[in-house]
């Protein structure tokens, strides 16, 4: 609520609460009115399909960390059985949507614009659809919020509006809240999943809302529905009647009024601060589908296994809505709906404004999917050539975040990251309104996405560089310290030797006169020679060691090393090995296993031969 205090004075806040209670609607800037096309799919009831023969279940279907896998290839699993255990922070499990056998655990194209492979469990359905034990809770009011939140997390529920943010995490955030907003706006053209869900399962949604109310302790609930869904409005109003704290708010049809931030502005006149969350302005928002999933998880004891998917577009012979198991390949769904393929077709996961085209149909439905749109060839105008920006400002007029899209476009083209930050690129919700109206057909959102990815990448690189620098400095310090210690040890050893030598000489001096001074000294000469030779040896060794120490301290020297430098460095490495205190000591002589030694020697020889061959071929 801290931001509320900044936005409102005390009286303003009271007046704001009165206004909300009175049903006032505010405005958000911008917005567009694209053709709705909802009638394609909203005529028929939600169909229930038999379990698909093959399911592809990615480990991670939410925002956060993937869980660790609990099953193995070949295992038989039951419907509702968890397949992964959530990771340490903010993870959610995924469950087997039907009973069957785990065929494979590995990489598979993801339900992502890039279709890059992600860890996926491939499940072959046995057709029995046999449930594991369910744990329905008859009286949820007997449980505390934290217990219920844990249950919701266990059920793997993530925001079903599209962002797939873990619901439990959203609910667990503390802070004083004054409204729970249930988002049934569904402003994106074509999509009718929430519309049908509200029409057919209003009672379940309301029970889910009651549970959410109980958990969050919020007294008042606003259910927002766009005025283009009269049946859904009626169904929800009927289901809510008699419950004081629930109010259905009918909002005008305007894209993107279903965006979290825009809806908050529309219903409460409050603005979620940049980098903030709705709870900062005393609000909590959940999608109607999420409310229904919460109802099923708590009251029926069913984890999140399926969701409503809109199958629409003129390339489908039977468009409509279906209950699709999470993990159902898009392929299977489209076949069910009578997809008529054509060359160079577009298949869009999500709506026409914010969805993404699929490069392959062998990707699964995940928690965040809500629509598969298969337009006919001329149904949605494909983008044509990008023309020069004429600075008409139409984009700025429709931007719901009051950004300056054309300015962002110039900055993104320049890779001017500072400028982009200054123009608040991060506040762009990528709704696509700007690109929709652009007379020059510039794919503005694409520029922003690339710029955002670049900036994120640069940030990660910067962090990594910082760490690398620290580690490099630490290593340098350690090498310096080790060198110092070694030098000290050698000095001590040298002194000890000197002392021993002096003692020996003194002894020799004592014995020499006794052996006779008149002798020519010839017998003592070989002894002197021996000592000198030993000293020379020690000196040579020390010099070599110093050289070796320098060589390791200066590893970059090796990178540019020519063959002769290479032999030198390997010499010095051997010298290092010879020094008794070094960790890298291999001491071939002390190795009792001769065959291992031989193997290593062979490996070295092999590598040398290979290197020689490479150099020869260069």
């Amino acid at each position: 609520m801290s931001s509320l205090v900044h936005q409102f004075s005390h009286e303003d806040l009271l007046r704001n609460r009165d206004d909300i209670a009175a049903g006032k609607l505010w405005q958000f800037p911008g917005g567009i009115h694209p053709p709705q096309r909802k009638e394609l799919a909203n005529k028929t009831a939600i169909r229930r399909l038999p379990p698909p023969p093959r399911l592809l279940i990615p480990f991670k279907q939410h925002i956060g960390q993937p869980g660790t896998v609990l099953v193995q290839e070949g295992d038989h699993v039951l419907k509702g059985q968890p397949l992964t255990a959530p990771g340490p922070n903010s993870g959610l499990p995924v469950h087997a949507p039907t009973s069957g056998r785990i065929k494979r655990i590995g990489e598979h194209p993801s339900a992502h614009p890039s279709a890059l492979p992600v860890s996926t469990i491939e499940l072959l359905s046995d057709g029995e659809d046999e449930w594991t034990e369910k744990h329905p809770i008859a009286d949820y009011t007997a449980l505390s919020s934290s217990e219920l939140i844990a249950l919701i997390a266990e059920a793997g529920i993530a925001g079903l509006g599209g962002a797939a943010f873990p619901t439990a995490q959203k609910l667990a955030a503390d802070g004083q809240l004054d409204y729970l907003i249930i988002n049934g706006v569904e402003c994106e053209p074509y999509i009718v999943s929430d519309d049908r869900l509200m029409r057919e399962h209003a009672a379940g949604i309301v029970r889910g809302i009651r549970i959410l109310q109980h958990i969050s302790g919020v007294k008042n609930v606003l259910i927002a529905i766009e005025d283009n869904k009269p049946e859904a409005i009626r169904a929800m109003q009927d289901a809510c009647s008699g419950t004081e704290s629930l109010a259905v708010r009918i909002v005008p049809t305007r894209y993107p009024s279903g965006g979290e931030r825009q809806l908050i502005q529309l219903l409460t006149g409050r603005e979620v601060p940049a980098n903030g969350l709705p709870k900062d302005v005393g609000l909590l928002m959940q999608n109607v589908g999420t409310a229904y999933a919460v109802y099923r998880a708590i009251i029926l004891g069913e984890p999140l296994l399926e969701r409503v998917i809109t199958l629409t577009g003129e390339a489908l012979q039977q468009p409509g809505t279906v209950w699709a198991m999470l993990g159902t390949p898009v392929d299977t769904l489209l076949k069910q709906a009578g997809y008529v393929p054509y060359p160079n077709a577009r298949v869009i996961m999500g709506g026409p404004m914010m969805g993404f085209t699929l490069p392959t149909l062998d990707v699964p439905i995940v928690k965040g999917s809500n629509c598969i749109l298969a337009p006919a060839k001329r149904e949605l105008p494909a983008s044509t050539t990008e023309m020069a920006c004429i600075r008409c400002g139409a984009c700025a007029d429709v931007c719901p975040a009051s950004l300056l899209p054309q300015q962002l476009y110039w900055l993104a083209r320049d890779h001017d990251h500072d400028g982009l930050r200054e123009h608040h690129l991060a506040d762009c919700i990528e709704c696509g309104a700007c690109a929709y109206v652009c007379p020059s057909e510039i794919p503005l959102v694409h520029y922003y996405r690339q710029a955002k990815a670049d900036m994120r990448e640069q940030y990660i690189e910067k962090q990594k560089a910082e760490i690398a620098k620290e580690r490099f400095e630490a290593r340098k310090a350690r090498l310096e310290r080790e060198k110092q210690e070694r030098l000290e040890r050698h000095e001590r050893a040298a002194e000890a030797r000197k002392r021993a030598l002096a003692e020996r000489e003194a002894k020799a001096a004592e014995t020499a006169p006794a052996s006779g001074t008149e002798t020519t000294g010839e017998p003592s000469k070989p002894a002197n020679d021996r000592v000198a030779a030993a000293i020379a040896r020690a000196k040579a060794k020390k010099a070599e060691q110093q050289k070796a120490a320098q060589a390791t301290e200066n590893p970059e020297g090796q990178a540019n090393a020519k063959p002769e430098a290479q032999t030198e460095s390997s010499n010095s490495a051997e010298a290092l090995k010879a020094s008794p205190d070094d960790v890298s000591q291999t001491a071939p002589g002390s190795d009792p296993e001769n065959d291992k030694k031989a193997r290593i020697a062979a490996a070295v020889a092999r590598a040398k031969a290979k290197k020689a061959a490479q150099q020869g071929s260069d």
Binding site: D12, R270, A274, N344, I348, I390, A401, G432
Partner: protein, 359 residues
């Protein structure tokens, strides 16, 4: 089968630059017809010349810049520039005036700055200023409205005049102007209403004396008032089609009207009133067609209000106290110069960033 990959959004409004420019051209038609009716064939001849020059210049530039010329030519922006300049200059000006003007607009003002969307200045108005400064004589000899002369110069005489600078009988535009001021008969060329008032005021006459001239028997100068009304009509069409937003025309006309009213209050005999300012000269053309050029205007709606109000202010100041009878071109160019700073200070507050308190 393969799939088509694209970035969202996957649908578009289909209102291309070319389409917008077409609508602008359609909206210009009433004004052009009115000008043709009141000022004769010269208007259409100038348009023809201007459009031809614009296409030639645009193609040359695109070729030199190694751009695909077809798609760029089809965006119709050069066409609009040419038409705006053609309707701004005297209908019987020599042919090379409009050719030089349009060529300058397209080559220097538009393409040397980087082509569509990159120009700092409104190309048509920059071209106009160049002509006004370079050829003051040719640029100030306007045609007398048909209501005064009774009939147009024939198409043949118009062409003759534009090509050779005199009629088949040997009169030049200036000579005809002299004739007009001397006898009031057979006048083909004469000063514009604004020019007329300026001259009279500088000669010590009062405004009411100046307005006695036959030229002012209507609301704001014969012919001119209707031309302005026709442009107003076209402008309303553009507003209705949402090609332009209301901000620029409204702010421009409001600021000009406000200043004119103030002037009338302070010096009723020296400063022309609202009617003259709004319905004479190029006011409506400027408000709906010239100042609304998106490339050189401010980008945010608040910025556009400031920008257009500034144009209104400069128009008024130059008309009342400056050295030129009309001042659309100078006002627009000066306001163009201010656009970057206007944009800087009128940036809308991004959602979720600190701003004034909500009510």
């Amino acid at each position: 089968m393969s799939f088509y990959i694209a970035s969202s959004p996957h649908t578009r409004q289909r209102r291309t630059t070319a389409r917008l420019m077409q609508l602008v051209i359609v909206a210009l038609i009433p004004g052009i017809l009115a000008q043709w009716y009141f000022f004769g064939w010269g208007v259409l001849l100038q348009l023809l010349l201007a459009i031809t020059t614009a296409y030639v210049a645009e193609s040359l530039c695109l070729h030199a810049r190694e751009r695909s010329s077809l798609s760029a030519l089809r965006d119709n922006t050069a066409l609009v520039t040419a038409m705006l300049l053609a309707v701004s200059i005297p209908p019987l000006a020599p042919w090379w005036v409009i050719v030089i003007g349009v060529a300058f607009s397209i080559i220097v003002v538009k393409h040397l700055y980087g082509g569509v969307g990159q120009n700092l200045f409104n190309p048509a108005m920059a071209g106009y200023v160049v002509l006004l400064i370079s050829f003051p004589l040719q640029m100030s000899s306007w045609v007398a409205p048909v209501e005064l002369t009774g009939q147009h110069l024939s198409l043949f005489e118009s062409i003759h005049l534009m090509l050779f600078q005199y009629t088949s009988e040997g009169y030049s535009v200036e000579q005809m102007r002299m004739v007009a001021s001397g006898t009031g008969l057979d006048a083909v060329a004469m000063a514009t209403p604004l020019d007329h008032i300026r001259t009279d005021l500088s000669q010590g006459l009062t405004l009411s004396e100046s307005l006695q001239a036959p030229l002012f028997s209507g609301l704001a100068g014969l012919g001119w008032q209707w031309v302005n009304l026709a442009y107003l009509l076209g402008g309303l069409f553009l507003l209705q089609q949402r090609v332009i937003q209301w901000h620029i025309p409204a702010a421009l006309l409001a600021s000009l009207a406000l200043l004119a009213a103030l002037g009338t209050l302070l010096a009723p005999d020296q400063l022309p009133g609202i009617d003259i300012h709004l319905f004479s000269g190029g006011t409506m053309l400027a408000a709906f067609f010239i100042a609304t050029d998106p490339v050189s205007a401010a980008t945010s709606n608040r910025g556009r209000l400031v920008y257009a109000a500034l144009i209104g202010l400069i128009i008024y100041l130059i008309r009342s106290f400056g050295g030129y009878p009309d001042a659309i071109a100078f006002a627009v160019l000066l306001a163009n110069m201010c656009v970057p700073i206007i944009d800087k200070y009128t940036r809308p507050t991004t959602y979720g960033h600190p701003r004034r308190k909500l009510q």
